[in-house]
């Protein structure tokens, strides 16, 4: 049973479209994250939620809007997609917030903008 699952695995779409990525964790964790991994493999934090509350919002264009309907789910909606949004987006969770908490990652959503 997958601990952190993301859908879809692949997303190919055109510039200007709006798309959503969904994430679910069955670990009972309180904290969830969205990361962006670029072509050089750097993992950059985008957002973090703790018990459905936004706690970290890095310098991300406001075209990106996260939503956490409950603490097991964290979705990411992207408006007006741009070429620079092409990357792999990872969802992760940890048992609670805090830098000392190891994170469990999903397998990523590969977003390609045409």
């Amino acid at each position: 049973d997958t601990a952190v699952s993301q859908t879809p695995k692949y997303l190919v779409t055109q510039m200007g479209n709006d798309k959503s990525i969904k994430c679910e964790q069955n670990l009972g964790h309180d904290t969830m994250y969205w990361y962006k991994q670029d072509s050089k493999k750097f993992l950059k934090i985008m957002f973090s939620y703790n018990n459905k509350e936004l706690i970290i919002n890095e310098t991300v264009p406001n075209r990106f809007s996260p939503k956490s309907p409950d603490k097991a789910h964290l979705n990411l909606h992207i408006n007006s997609l741009e070429l620079g949004d092409s990357a792999v987006y990872f969802c992760a969770s940890s048992s609670r917030q805090g830098g000392d908490q190891p994170q469990h990652f999903g397998d990523g959503t590969r977003l390609s903008i045409l």
Partner: protein, 112 residues
Amino acid sequence: QKEVEQDPGPLSVPEGAIVSLNCTYSNSAFQYFMWYRQYSRKGPELLMYTYSSGNKEDGRFTAQVDKSSKYISLFIRDSQPSDSATYLCAMTYPGGSYIPTFGRGTSLIVHP
């Protein structure tokens, strides 16, 4: 200078070799150090987790932290082709809402 530096590689070794993967960092406040392994088209998975300085061993893997030199290492003994992956180091402060700072990862290839 980036907070965490990691040579991207690739590092290519024969099966059975001892592998040494390293990261340097600039922020002396880091207290927790992690190594993640990422297979192609998969998410990072936690491999080792250490607090402060010292060594930690788990099977063929040993994590070493030298806070005085701001240098961490991951050693893999008797490397196997299945160890071929990208290894990312990560480090952070305790408590609060701090997020780990990741290195860019080192690509390791173990050839039979």
